[in-house]
Assembly symmetry: C2
Homo-oligomer: 470 residues x 2
C-alpha cells in the first residue's frame, strides 16, 4: 500500500466513524502533511482518491470538506406515468402561493433567496438614486426587448456559462416566469406535448397547462437529471414538440446535469429536430466555480431557448428576467410584446450597473459560499432529526432541496399540520402533472439563521412522529 | 320668435361666420345677459338650444365653447370585411415600436401621456422615498393578485364609473397589455373568434393573434362606437366567443359610446351568452365629469372583464394595470400567475398612496382640462393646414385622434417620409387585422408645446402636398 493510499484509508475510517461529520471542514493539506510526516503531494493524492470516492469535496479557496453524497441516501430515479398528461394541481399551487410569510414561523416553501445580504446594498442604492434623481427614466415606454445596457451586460455574464451572445439575441422579461411562458408559446401550438423532468417546478408546469399543452414527464435521476434513454423512448413514441429542462441546479432537486449529458441532450433534440427550453435561473449560484455550462453553450443551430432571471440571485421583486431565444427570436419578441409590453426601466438600469461595476459577481460569490454551508447544515439537521428512511437530494447549487419520506406519509396533510406550527414547505404533488410525490417536499435553505432552520426540521420531525402512528 | 331663440340665432350666426372659432370660449352667461339686456335664464336657454344643435358645448367650471362637432368633418362609419380573419401587421407594429423618440422631431405615434405634469410630483417623491427608506418592500414575492392597499384604492376609484367592486374582485397586472392578453386567454380557446371594433388598438389585435384567435372586425361609428346592428348580425352568423371593446375614449378614435348603447351591448352579450372584455384604459381622462359609466357597471352576472391601467393617466413606465374579471376570476388569476408571476410592489404602493391622498384625482382633473384644450388646438391646426377633404375624429377624452385623408394617400408611405422630417404618427393599417385604413393615421396630442404640435401638422401638410401630385 502506498503512502497516499494509507493516508486515504485512515481519513476514510475517520469519516466513516463520524470523527469528521458530513459538511465538516477537513484538516488542511499542509496540516496533514506535518501531522503524518508526509509530503504535500501525498496528502493531495490521498484527497484526490477520497474525492473520486465521493467522500470528500474540494471547495475553491476553502479546502476539503466531508461530502454528504451517499448514494443510499438519495431519492431513487423518478418513475412518472409514461404518457402525456394534462397538468393539474393549480388549486394546490394557488393555496401555497397565498400563504403569507409571517415572523412567527419559518417559511421554507418559497424559493426565495436571502435578500438581506450586504453585497446587495450597492444595487439598492443605485435604485434609490435613480428613483430620486432621474425618475423620468422610469416613466416612458422603452425598448420592448429590454434596455440595451442590460442586454450588453447579460452577454458579458453568459460567457461564464459558455455562451457567446449579442445584445440583439436577448429579450428582457418580467422575471423568469414570463420568459418560460413566452418560450412555451413561441415553440408550440395548443395541444402539443412537452417533455419535462419529473419532478418539475410547478410554475413551469402551470405555464404548460395555461398554454393548452400536455406534459410528458420523463424519469429523472436525482444526480444526473432527465434520463436520456427514457427521453429517447418517449421521443420515438410521441410527437413531442419541445423539451423543457432545468439542467443546472435543478428545481426542486438541486442536481446539475453533467456537461457530457447536456451535450447529448442537445444532440438528441437535434436528431428529432425539436426545441429545448432551458431554465437556468439558478445557474449562477452553482457551487462550482467556474459555473457549469448551459445546454445553450452547445447550441449551433439556435434551437435552444435559454431563460433566466435575477429572481434567485438578487431578488424576485426586481422582476427582471431574460431569454436568449435563438432562432425563435421574432416569435418570442411578438409574444413578449403582447404578454406585457415592455419591462420597467429602473430595475434594468440598476442591475446593468450592478453587473458592470462587479457588484453582481461579488454578490453571487458570497451567496454561493453561504448557500453551500447552509445546505450542509440542513442536510445534517435532516440526518439528525428526520427518520432514518428519509431520502434527500444533494444540491450542488441553489438553495433548495428535495426530501422523500416514507411512502406512507402524505405531504399534503403534513404541510397542513406544519403550517399550524409555523413551518412551511412546498409539498411534492405540486411538482408533478398528476399529483405524484405525495411523500415528498421541497425545502428552501436560504434562511440565514441556523437556529430557525434547525427548529423547522425539529418541528417537522415531531409532527412526523405523530403521523407515523397509524 | 322668443327672446332666447333670437339670442341663439345671433350666436349661431357669429359662430357660422367664424367670429367665434371652433374651440374658442364663448362669453359667459352673465356677460351675455348684460350685453343683450336679457335674463340669465334666457341666455341659459339659448345656450341649451345651441348645445342641442351640437354648435356649442358646456365644460364644467369653464363655460361654453364652440364645438368642432360637425358631422361632415367626421370619418364615416367603418366597413371592415364581414368575416373572421387572422391578424396580420405585426412587422408594421414592431417597426413603429422600435422607433425611438428623439429630441429633434415631434413623435406623435405612441399613445404616451404628458408625464412632465407637476401634479405627478407627489407620486414620484413617494416612489423615491420607498426606494430609499424601505427597499426591502420591493425585493420579495408578494400577493399574485397585487397588493391589497392598491386593490382597495382601485375599488374606490371605480365607483366613479358606476362599479361596486371588492378588493378580492381585482387582479393587478403588468400594465393593460397584460390585462388584455390574460383576459383573452381566459375566455377563449385557440381558434375562437373575437368581435372587435374597427379600427382597433394594435396591441389588442396582436394579443388576439398571439392567442391563436380570429378577429371579426365590426363596423364602428366614429361617434357612437361599435355598430350594435352589425354586431348582432355577426353574432347570428358566426360562433363569436367574446366581444372586445374600448367603449370609453376609444383608441384610436376617441369617441365614447353613449350609456344606453353600452347597456344594450351588455344585453346583447347576455342574450348570446358571451363575455365582454372592456378596455377602459382612457376612461379616467374622459373630458366629461363625472366620467362615463363602464359596461362593467351594468354587469349583473359577471360576464364583463374590465381592464385598465395607469399607463395613460400616470405613466406607462409604471407598468401597473388591473382586471376586474367577474366570473372569470379563477382562470384570470391562473393565467396572470403563469404569465409573469406577481407585479413589482413599490409602484403599487406608491400609486395606492397617490390615490388615497387625493393626488390622483387632482392629477387627472388637470390632465383632462389640458388634453381637452390641446385637442381643440390640434383640431384647429388640422382644419387650418391639412387639405379640405381631411376627416378627423372628435375625441371626448384621451389624447389621441384619428385622421382620415383622401383615399389616394398611403399612410405607410407618408409615415416614412414624415419620419425623415422628424414627425411621427401611427399609420392606419396597424389598427386593422387586414391592413385596412391605408389613408388614415392616429395622432397623439399629449405633447404640451403648441408650437411643436403645430409644426408637426404644418410639416405633414407640406409632405402631403408632394404626395398629391401624381
Amino acid at each position: 500500500m502506498t503512502l497516499y493510499q494509507n493516508l486515504a484509508n485512515r481519513l476514510r475510517e475517520h469519516i466513516q466513524h463520524g470523527f469528521f461529520k458530513p459538511g465538516e471542514k477537513l484538516p488542511s493539506v499542509r496540516q496533514l502533511a506535518q501531522e503524518h510526516g508526509v509530503s504535500i503531494s501525498t496528502v493531495q493524492e490521498a484527497y484526490r482518491q477520497l474525492e473520486q470516492d465521493f467522500l470528500v469535496e474540494a471547495r475553491p479557496k476553502s479546502g476539503y470538506f466531508v461530502c454528504f453524497r451517499k448514494k443510499d441516501n438519495l431519492p431513487s430515479i423518478s418513475r412518472p406515468p409514461q404518457r402525456p398528461l394534462e397538468v393539474s394541481q393549480w388549486e394546490e399551487v394557488l393555496n401555497m402561493l397565498m400563504i403569507r410569510s409571517n415572523n412567527k414561523g419559518v417559511q421554507l416553501q418559497h424559493a426565495m433567496p436571502d435578500m438581506a445580504a450586504p453585497t446587495l446594498k450597492p444595487l439598492l442604492k443605485t435604485l434609490a438614486d435613480l428613483s430620486k434623481q432621474k425618475p423620468e427614466l422610469g416613466l416612458g415606454y422603452a425598448d420592448i426587448r429590454g434596455i440595451e445596457e442590460l442586454r450588453t451586460q447579460l452577454c458579458r455574464l453568459t460567457v461564464a456559462s459558455g455562451c457567446q451572445l449579442h445584445p440583439d439575441d436577448l429579450v428582457v422579461t418580467s422575471g423568469c416566469q414570463e420568459a418560460l411562458s413566452v418560450c412555451l408559446r413561441a415553440v408550440t401550438e395548443p395541444g402539443d406535448i412537452i417533455a419535462i423532468e419529473s419532478p418539475s417546478f410547478y410554475g413551469s408546469m402551470q405555464a404548460i397547462k395555461a398554454a393548452n399543452l400536455k406534459a410528458m414527464e420523463i424519469p429523472t435521476h436525482p444526480e444526473t437529471g432527465i434520463s436520456l434513454e427514457a427521453l429517447e423512448l418517449a421521443l420515438d413514441q410521441w410527437p413531442i414538440k419541445a423539451i423543457f429542462v432545468t439542467p443546472t441546479c435543478n428545481n426542486p432537486m438541486g442536481y446539475t446535469m453533467p456537461e457530457d449529458k447536456k451535450e447529448q441532450l442537445y444532440r438528441l433534440a437535434q436528431s428529432y429536430d425539436i426545441a429545448i427550453i432551458e431554465d437556468d435561473i439558478y445557474g449562477d449560484i452553482s457551487y462550482q466555480f467556474p459555473r457549469p455550462k448551459t445546454i445553450k453553450s452547445f447550441d449551433t443551430d439556435g434551437r435552444v431557448l435559454l431563460c433566466s432571471s435575477f429572481s434567485k440571485t438578487i431578488a424576485p421583486g426586481m422582476r427582471v428576467g431574460w431569454i436568449a431565444p435563438g432562432r425563435y427570436r421574432d416569435k418570442v419578441t411578438h409574444i413578449k410584446y403582447v404578454s406585457s409590453s415592455m419591462c420597467p426601466v429602473l430595475p434594468q438600469l440598476a442591475i446593468a450597473k450592478f453587473i458592470r461595476l462587479g457588484g453582481y459577481t461579488k454578490h453571487i460569490r458570497q451567496m454561493r459560499q453561504r448557500y453551500e454551508k447552509q445546505r450542509d447544515h440542513l442536510l445534517n439537521a435532516i440526518k439528525t432529526y428526520l427518520p432514518n428512511d428519509t431520502k434527500v437530494s444533494y444540491p450542488d447549487g441553489s438553495f433548495i432541496l428535495w426530501v422523500e419520506l416514507n411512502p406512507c406519509i402524505d405531504s399534503m396533510a403534513l404541510v397542513e399540520r406544519c403550517r399550524e406550527e409555523g413551518v412551511g414547505f412546498a409539498p411534492g404533488p405540486l411538482f408533478s402533472a398528476t399529483g405524484k410525490y405525495r411523500n415528498c417536499f421541497r425545502l428552501n435553505f436560504s434562511e440565514q439563521s441556523m437556529e430557525k432552520r434547525e427548529w423547522a426540521i425539529k418541528t417537522l420531525a415531531t409532527i412526523l412522529l405523530s403521523f407515523e402512528q397509524p
